[in-house]
């Protein structure tokens, strides 16, 4: 299958970033339609579409939307957008916010209508200045045109939208940590169900809160406009993945960039779209952002991009940060760099992640410095298993998976490095992904 541009159709068109241009291309039709719909009808449309969260977990979106109280009980409802795109290898939300800001604004406004949201917050990664500027401009225009604020489109309903800039923490992309940060607390994750109520019941300031990823919200105008029925025909070939997905392709490819595809496209097709390998044959791929398990060339050959389909190759769609690595890549060094990232980004809240990520990094450092000890590979696996599933939030798991997977898929590279004090990959020095 080839590229399927739904969200990114007008991304090259600079006029699309203005309200006029956006409207000319059919923008805000969906909101106009939504204000006349029953709240539940909107949610049902999202349900019919089969939309799943694009942030990484792939949770059915409608369940969240449906989870907010149908009748307000004296508390405000909030709609939050997770725009803290920090997963290494992922840069789709950045483009969406910079080039199609109105899609997000409209999508969130519709979400606000469907869930009786009083206010929305877009929590943007601190480094994304351009994205924030584009959104600021879009929000201002929308306010001026009565598409945000009081009595939107004469519906009698209000919805305010705010931008909040993060301060540079990966952990704040975890939804509960994001909410802590948004409320002015330290960016640490909060207790989750069943240890505490779901955010849809008690989220921001203990109020019902809907939180979705940028890409998820941008899908909404299309779903409302063309109907969930239509949307779910996209990706019909897969087991349970519907619609399009943007993959951020990077690594040793000729044309890195964001590619929007229909679910069911193969990884090979994605590689072709991005101009094929550069500098050598395909060796491995991290298909969904740095935290998902790495796969080798053989698995790449049979990988189909779909939430369930990817588990056939023991990996995941994740956030769609797809990194292709050529034959000159030293997997050990690559994982060292990954481990460094997670050790730096652990928030420190829980023991396994705080201590485990640091320890893994120390072991990896030792190995790439040529001081690996016999048993280090097994020790790494043990440490991974002591983190995986034991940490407070998903960051610990995300730190353990890539290491464990790399050892599973490329054990010989670790053995060689540990035994010989150097990489088994020739000329890896030049292409090694070191900082």
């Amino acid at each position: 299958m080839a590229e399927y541009k739904l969200l990114l159709e007008h991304s090259d068109d600079t006029a699309y970033r203005t309200l006029d241009g956006y409207r000319k291309k059919g923008g805000y039709k969906a909101l106009e339609k939504a204000v006349k719909m029953e709240r539940q009808a909107i949610i049902d449309e999202v349900k019919a579409s089969g939309l799943r969260g694009r942030g990484g977990a792939g949770f059915p979106t409608w369940i969240k939307w449906n989870g907010l109280p149908k009748e307000k009980v004296g508390k405000k409802h909030y709609v939050v957008c997770n725009a803290d795109e920090g997963e290494p290898g992922t840069f789709k939300d950045k483009q969406l916010m910079e080039e199609t800001p109105f899609l997000l604004v409209e999508g969130m406004t519709i979400a606000g209508f469907a869930t009786q949201g009083d206010a929305g917050f877009i929590y943007i990664r601190g480094e994304f200045i351009d994205a924030a500027k584009a959104l600021r401009a879009a929000i201002d225009e929308a306010y001026a045109a009565g598409l945000l604020g009081k009595n939107i489109l004469g519906s009698g309903r209000d919805f305010d939208l705010y931008i909040h800039m993060g301060a540079g923490s990966y952990e704040c992309g975890e939804e509960s940590a994001l909410m802590s940060s948004l409320m002015g607390e330290r960016g640490m994750p909060r207790l989750k169900f069943p240890h505490a109520p779901l955010p849809t019941i008690s989220g921001l300031w203990d109020s019902p809160t809907l939180i979705n990823n940028v890409e998820t919200y941008t899908c909404v105008p299309f779903i409302v406009n063309k109907g969930g029925e239509w949307y779910q025909t996209l990706g019909a070939a897969t087991k349970n993945s519907r619609g399009t997905k943007i993959f951020s392709v990077s690594g040793h490819v000729n044309k890195p960039g964001n590619y929007e595809i229909e679910f069911g496209t193969t990884l090979n097709e994605l590689l072709e779209m991005s101009g094929g390998m550069k500098g050598g044959k395909l060796k491995a791929c991290v298909p969904g952002g740095s935290s998902v398990p790495i796969i080798d060339a053989e698995m790449c050959g049979r990988a189909v991009l779909g939430y369930e389909e990817m588990s056939d190759v023991k990996s995941m769609v994740g956030s769609g940060g797809c990194m292709f690595l050529n034959e000159h890549t030293c997997i050990v060094s690559f994982i060292w760099r990954t481990a460094m990232f997670y050790a730096q980004e652990s928030c420190g809240k829980c023991t396994p992640c705080r201590e485990g990520t640091k320890w893994m990094l120390q072991i990896m450092e030792r190995i790439v410095a040529g001081n690996g000890q016999p048993g280090d590979k097994e020790l790494l696996l043990e440490v991974c298993s002591q983190i995986d599933g034991r940490s407070f939030c998903g960051l610990g798991d995300a730190a353990a998976w890539p290491v464990a997977a790399a050892i599973r898929v490329f054990p010989e590279e670790f053995d060689y490095f540990i035994a010989n004090g150097k990489s088994m990959v020739k000329s890896s020095k030049d292409l090694m992904l070191v900082p």
């Binding site: 923490s169 952990e171 330290r186 207790l191 069943p194 240890h195 505490a196 050790a343 730096q344 980004e345 652990s346 928030c347 420190g348 809240k349 829980c350 023991t351 396994p352 705080r354 201590e355 485990g356 990520t357 640091k358 320890w359 120390q362 072991i363 030792r366 000890q373 020790l379 043990e382 002591q386 599933g389 034991r390 940490s391 407070f392």
Partner: protein
Amino acid sequence: MATVAATDTVNIVINDVDLQVPKGELVVEAVKRLGHEIPIFCYHPRMKPVGMCRMCLVEVGFKQPDGSVRKMPKPQAGCTLPVSEGMVIYTDTEMVHRDRKGVLEFLLINHPLDCPVCDRGGECPLQNNTIFYGPSTSRYIDIKRHAPKAFPLSEYVTLDLERCIQCGRCVRFTEEISGDAQLAFRFRGAAMQPSTFKLTDFDSKFSGNVIEICPVGALTSSKYRFRARPWDLETSEGLCLECGNGCNVWLDHRAAKLVRVNGRTNEAINEEWTCDKGKFGHDYYNSSKRLTQPLRREGDRFVPVSWGEAYAEIAAHLGAKSAALVGSTVSNEGLFCLQKLFKDGFGSENIDHRWTRTLPAAGERVAKRHESSIASLEHKKTVLVFGADLANSQPIVHLRVRKGWFLNETRVVVAHSQTTDADSFANLLLSCKPGSLDDLAMGLERAVAEAQKTDVQGFASFKDTEKTTSVKESALREVAAMLLEGNASIVCTASIYNENKPVETLAALAKIAAATGAEFNVYAEGGNDEGAMALGVMTGRNTHEILQDCAMGDLNALWLVGADPLTLHPSRRLAEDALEAVPFLVYQGLLECEAMGYASIVLPMEAPGEHDGTYTNIEGRVQRMQQAVKNPGDGKPAWRVFSELLVRIKPGRPSFSAKEIMDEIAATHPAFAEATYDKLEKEGTPLKPVIENFYM
């Protein structure tokens, strides 16, 4: 007691044992019902669970309709998971043990192995959990985290960062319990460390508690560091008399010397907390200024004399024209014997223990000083703190009031002319001009009267009240409305007697209380001031009159019992004149002090922890403290001195023990009827209310 309704409990299974527990109880608490234990670090029953350390991971499943159990894929933190119907909990599986080992291995990779020189060694949760659940060796061969070893967070608290296991207990304590939010985590990941926000001093009135709740030796007491090993310590149940709250403490002593004071749990009073005054303020026990033997003035120096000589001297000089002024740490027994000595021995009634500018009236009715028990304050709907700086003078009351606000939605109103720590969380702040508390009280009385549509004739208008106090009408009306909603308590302390027109202020507040049904408290301030009030240690001439009489030459002798008028009396001038003029001065106390310079006879007194005795706290709770340490010299408990002297003057049977005296007090004072040693309860025995209706 109401029986627990079936819907309030759930059926769960813990390690194959079926049981019913209250719905929503945390797993870590539920297992205690079976006598099982889940190891913990970060969890503290008095603070909100956070699930940080992961020590408490257990396996959890749910009963399926077909009777099988479906386990959750990941282990769950027992300290954050509330039980629910059909939950099946395993605390003893292979996986659980593996996970505990894993967490402990992680915690230990950066924890120094300096247990042999660590204060906590021997009473350290990390040590204990490691011994029970930890790995026997470490696979860690890399470089441990290093940090400054003894970083002084404050004068009292020293932080050893290397030992910290980032459990967050200390940080949460300052957020949730003391409320001063002094500590926070800086940095993230493995570099995360507890610290003050701006690296300033750890400025808290309750900082000492974090030393006790730290599960490792990271937070240590600057005063106790390296003073003892836990296994060298002996400990005794003690009471703190730094203020009238009556906190229960452990007095830890080594080789008969007091080295440490820790909080001892008493749910009725301090729960498990102490304030820093209480924890660090017991220096006098080992002070080099401690008086150790009776002294007699000879010219301008003191020479040691025997007790017998001292008694003879005193007996020769004291008579009907003598008086005594008492400090706040004398036991009930001491106070009672003093009264007897003066009355029966010297024929004088001139005794007083009050030191405020205006003296609380002798006729004031007992229970009026404490209608609300300390523990009840956390369940009030509204607490009006009037003219009191609780954090300073009643630290534990302050914690209770804050607890109510933090956990139970108590609305706190603070009315004062100066800033207090409670301002930071008060729902409403009535800050008035200095000296205008009386006008404020009357303004409030008017607001209550108007709300109840009763006559407001004779009241100042709200406009005038605003002029004198700067408090707005709307605020007064708001407070009145809150009080009228019921379940309210008005909290004042004896410090109100140092303010302008306290009698008028209190009269207005009493009327407000009567009109709104609010409880009304004027808590005593000093260690056993409530005991002195209840025993009526304020007969004959009062404090001011006694000092004036001394200054005018109308009294021949003055006995200072653990009190120095130069620091206690509002007028230093008067105190100086009195001490200068009085021909014969007895100073009986713990430490050398300024007043001693005027004394003819000096008597060493035993500190409270050096002898048996009972003390009455602000809420009228009589508690007993037994001897913990030995007096460093030849000191005697106050009661013994008084009773020995009395026998010399008026031969009779001397009292042998504090217990005996307490029996006598119980027999003669109805309020103390239940407070004999054999009847005193674990949490202390409240005084019996002797006056049913205060408003008659």
